[in-house]
Symmetry: C2
Subunit: 194 residues, 2 copies
């Protein structure tokens, strides 16, 4: 692996575990075996490095979901939504570091002043919400979903799923057993009262 990629990989892990301010270039240098000079040869500063990491996070997450969207196109709307949720929960487990970066506060703080950062975050959330909404829309058409406002419902649904992932990450409570309850809640929410 090239030094540049090694730096990016380790930076992803450090940023996710220790945050932006908690990650030191000296530490990164030790772990990767690259001199500090080398790091700054490839990335113009710490913020630039973080943006590259965020860009990779964006691309890998979007890539995963795009690939998932290609499968099982024959399912009913409600089944697609349930499939997306299951995929989301699974991905949050297998791409822990990437999701942890998104669950930290720093990116959103940086997004206030840095348009590149903001753009990455918007791309990710737009993609995720679109996927949820698409399933809902399809469900409305085939009768498997009964809601009035698809976009808002997609947001509420996303907030719920992502909230569960967070509860699980924080480990204040064991939320690992909540997946079934989450699915039940999803079905009730979409099939609607009455």
């Amino acid at each position: 692996m090239s030094k540049r990629n090694a730096i990016l990989a380790s930076a992803t892990r450090l940023f996710s575990r220790n945050g932006f301010q908690g990650t030191g270039m000296a530490e990164l240098s030790t772990i990767t075996g690259a001199a500090t000079g080398t790091i700054f040869h490839h990335f113009k500063n710490k913020e630039d490095l973080f943006l590259q990491v965020l860009n990779d996070v964006k691309e890998s997450i979007l890539d995963q979901f795009d690939r998932h969207q290609q499968t099982r196109r024959d399912q009913k709307g409600i089944e697609r939504v349930e499939g997306v949720i299951a995929f989301y929960l699974n991905l949050a487990g297998s791409m822990e570091d990437q999701f942890l970066i998104l669950h930290r506060h720093y990116p959103y703080q940086m997004a206030k002043t840095n348009p590149v950062c903001r753009s990455h975050l918007e791309s990710i959330y737009t993609c995720l919400l679109d996927i949820f909404e698409e399933g809902i829309q399809k469900g409305i058409q085939d009768g498997s979903v009964a809601v009035e406002a698809p976009r808002q419902t997609a947001m509420v649904l996303f907030a719920m799923v992502d909230g569960i992932v967070r509860l699980n990450t924080y480990r204040v409570y064991d939320a690992g057993t909540l997946y079934d309850s989450l699915m039940v809640a999803c079905r009730r929410l979409l099939k609607g009262g009455r």
Copy 2:
């Protein structure tokens, strides 16, 4: 106001806005007008200061919810839950700094090694989940709520509400218009399929 309280108040604001590592004692000294020596006279170090802040956050949030629980005891279960959600959303707006600290990552990281920190966080989440669950239990008894697992449902409900608050804080999307959708989702979720 005493210097100690001024330090605590400013520390709450700084920790919530800039995080633990992003908050400097020199900055805190400038803002409060207290010399750095004074800060360390009242708090033995930065971590201790943070724990005091977190303790205040815990006490004020628990106090607010305890007070809210004393009101409208005649309501049906479903109405109580809806009232709690409305109160939660309202509180997240009026106690922005306190909620922001809870939505940051640092406290949960610190909780892994610091039992005092962990205890504060557990108190808060236990209280909140108990309140949600209590409403659900009452609803099951009076027939206004139909779910099978009250505790798990309380967690899912909490994840949903807190997720909406986060979406609103991050401001990647305007979630301010989601409160109605959230209430609809809550009702569907509790009144059940069929």
